[in-house]
Symmetry: C2
Subunit: 267 residues, 2 copies
């Protein structure tokens, strides 16, 4: 058993209901808030339950309405919007204490792990995980309990604030307990690295995600996931961060883009 599977597990509230009960575990916290990718994986897990014929998230967009609550129960209400042969489109609302926290709109389908892509984005050169640096469990005084769940190794040239000379963060990630990555886990792993803007500006404050879209493109093979996240566009305190994930065979497995705010100095 894996902590990720255990701690995203849901119970259907009734055989014919599209509502699922779960629990938000504090082990995935960033400071005192649950990681947004973890909450998205819980919602994604509920959506997948509803359409077992379409187990892979092809395109998932989440808007974070309010912070999640660690160590509290949650409910995920799912609605099938359109069911087709090759994909299902669904929405989901993650609710805690009777208040919506996440709103998700997604298409699920079936991805391969063997078909060669016609066009793809090559994985960047990266020192081996052993040559990379473990992400610090204390960032600007904020504790990162999530690092007991996932092992993040950052590119040695990009770790120090401003060292990359650009808004880029890259490195390796895997579950500490050896669980292999899958397409559901990509929703978490697309939001597990430090904000790319730290690479340019240093740890300027809290960078809460307003909206995140993940396109999963392929089922990953077992092993480390390589991630690269970059920000080219920062204006009026809002930034766009582009990300990509590759599996240990060098295949592009997901692309992500998020809109986030910079709350300078604050958390």
């Amino acid at each position: 058993m894996s902590t990720f599977d255990d701690e995203t597990r849901l119970q259907r509230l009734a055989p014919d209901a599209a509502s699922f009960a779960g629990h938000v575990h504090p082990g995935w916290n960033i400071g005192t808030n649950p990681n947004g990718g973890y909450l998205l994986a819980i919602a994604g897990s509920a959506m997948r339950e509803l359409v077992p014929q379409h187990p892979d998230p092809l395109s998932v967009t989440v808007h974070y309405l309010r912070p999640g609550l660690p160590e509290k129960p949650c409910r995920v209400d799912v609605q099938l919007l359109h069911g087709g042969r090759s994909k299902s489109t669904l929405r989901a609302t993650l609710v805690q204490e009777d208040t919506p926290r996440l709103e998700v709109l997604a298409a699920f389908g079936v991805l391969a792990s063997e078909a060669p892509p016609e066009l793809t984005i090559a994985a960047p050169a990266m020192p081996a995980p052993e040559q990379c640096l473990v992400r610090s469990a204390d960032e600007q005084g904020v504790q990162l309990p999530i690092l007991d769940r996932i092992d993040i190794r950052l590119h040695p040239n990009e770790l120090r604030a401003g060292a990359a000379g650009k808004a880029r963060v890259s490195g390796w990630v895997r579950f500490h307990d050896g669980r292999p990555p899958d397409t559901l886990a990509c929703l978490l792993l697309a939001d597990a690295f430090p904000p790319a803007v730290f690479g340019l500006l240093g740890m300027v404050g809290w960078v809460p995600t307003l909206e995140l879209t993940v396109h999963v493109r392929r089922r990953p093979v077992p092993g480390w996931i390589l991630g690269r996240f970059e920000t080219f566009d920062l204006s009026e305190g809002r930034l766009v961060e582009d990300g990509a994930l590759w599996d240990s065979a060098g295949n592009l497995v997901a692309q992500s883009r998020q809109l986030a705010m910079i709350l300078r100095g604050g958390r």
Copy 2:
């Protein structure tokens, strides 16, 4: 008056209802289907009506469930999911003949047109509109009535199939009737160019959008909009297309990303 404003106009069904009635005009067709960006602009117009204090779409995601119907009435049902000081989060469903066609999830807020960005993406070099080539109103036998509404000029090196040597399409766009671009129009203009993949593979068939996310970043100044669209990732018949729009002063005004299917040979 502008055709875009006329043909995205909605009537609120009751003073306290969040439902709006409109009409899908055939002037925005690609072949016999309404352009997806036009339908998104209708839905966005309804969302904006509900939150007049937040007139600018910051992040808009649409899933296309079924093709729209030209020359038919439509209804847009809007739900406010979260109202904050700096943004409102909403969902909308565009319905025709009692069947949902588009599902939209969006955050609206207030954008500036003057604040200098901290990081931005420079506009690519582009010949003047007069040196570019008018997008043909007949693509692989498909009529493009939308070209009577918007004036699209393509980079002369990228027009012929495969000529760019990469999956890229770029050029200029504006309304034929002189209406200046605004942040709502960016939703249309982010989906008005030919598929970027035509630049590499030729006109391979129909490329329907499954999902489109537009991040509007700034209010455009009047004049031409420069657009660039690229595909780096095509696998199992599904592609990711990245786009960006700049205003006539060279400011980045929007980024877009869509997941589309290639139906080779088909329409």
